[in-house]
Symmetry: C2
Subunit: 237 residues, 2 copies
């Protein structure tokens, strides 16, 4: 499985993905699930993927080829809405093709994506793209999207994230949300990929891989565990 979470805040966009893929529990690999297309200052688009790896890899490869050559490119789309439409169509096309190959096994190959970005003069936007290619968009009422194993890390996001959350706090929130997921579900694993896009810069401000031995992450995780236990002790029934 996977856990990816994206926040759309007044101050910018914060995205975090894990890197674990698995076919069963005995075939675990590390694959990047965060992909960024950027013309710094002009437009920036980040995509996070969940689901069948054969579908997401092919879809990202097609989007990359189109961006470098002919065909409808997300780097030339007139709006973030058009970006979401191109990605949705690519995703559903690939999914249908792969599913047809697998139809003998009565299986289907599905994947979903979170797409976020901004083009110069436009608004920052954050979409969740479903396997069928349709999509929904984050709003101030629900300023986040999750794909994959979303349940473990949702209570924290629900409690602390609003559109006014600062970019520092937002990074903390997604990392702690991921930490809860990592602890409770083996199918989500380190390393992590973090991307921060400051509002109206149309470029990636921070792009960071957090390795399994990252001391800062582990210190934060331990501090959060201790803080949770202290908070738990302080509550009276």
């Amino acid at each position: 499985m996977t856990y990816c979470v994206g926040l759309l805040l007044d101050a910018g966009i914060v995205l975090l993905s894990d890197t674990r893929t698995n076919a069963g529990v005995d075939n675990i690999s590390t694959y990047r699930k965060m992909f960024t297309f950027e013309q710094p200052g002009e437009r920036v688009i980040s995509i996070m993927t969940a689901g069948s790896l054969s579908v997401t890899q092919t879809a990202i490869a097609r989007l990359t080829e189109a961006a470098e050559g002919d065909g409808p490119s997300i780097l030339e789309a007139a709006s973030m809405l058009e970006v979401a439409e191109i990605i949705g169509k690519t995703l559903s096309d690939v999914s249908r093709e792969v599913s047809q190959k697998m139809s003998g096994q009565a299986q289907s190959a599905k994947a979903s994506m979170i797409v976020a970005g901004q083009r110069r003069g436009g608004a920052m936007r954050l979409f969740l793209i479903y396997p069928e290619g349709n999509f929904i968009e984050a709003t101030p009422d629900t300023p986040y999207m999750q794909i994959g194993e979303h349940k473990y890390g949702k209570p924290l996001i629900d409690r602390v994230v609003t559109p006014q959350t600062s970019l520092d706090d937002a990074q903390k929130a997604v990392l702690l949300s991921m930490d809860s997921t990592l602890r409770s579900n083996l199918s989500v694993g380190m390393p992590l990929d973090l991307v921060v896009i400051e509002a109206d810069t149309c470029r990636v401000s921070i792009s960071r891989r957090i390795e399994a031995d990252d001391e800062t992450f582990h210190a934060m995780s331990a501090a959060w565990s201790n803080a949770l236990r202290d908070a738990f002790s302080a509550i009276t029934v």
Copy 2:
């Protein structure tokens, strides 16, 4: 859906269930999912249910009839293991019967249960019974069982519960675990049923229904939210 959680501690057993059942999101009802069979001082057995209501109601009704009349009764079983076996067989029998009735709709009716208790002279035990009637048992390494929407409330339990946890802290842990679930998932709802069985008493020590307007629960929930936000603020990345 449902959320039920049971803890097996050195000091006793703590069980908490919600009461929401739904067929779709537009047909929501309140049904008790906590059932206790007790001969105070001799034996106590509590059952929590998740899954198809037609299956769990019939299974509980059959277990109750057997306890009051003929047939293999969980109140006469020689051990908690035999209790789990009787309940497992009843559950799988009912599930198979109901599924046969529904086979025209290509649906199946499944349910699972948590069973906990003690008989005089025996050990306290906590089982999770699968729809097929097989079961697993809690151990000191994993002293809890969950059924239904277990993911939201798992990180807290993972972090704070050990076999040495006191009964007071254990009640707090299951209530806060439930609180996280209630906030993030509409299919789990108030009121709640809480049961505490002190070790070696073979009787229910506390049986409490927590209504939707319970002030203590809401105060605890608010205090936990505040404590979480404070803990979150105190963490540095």
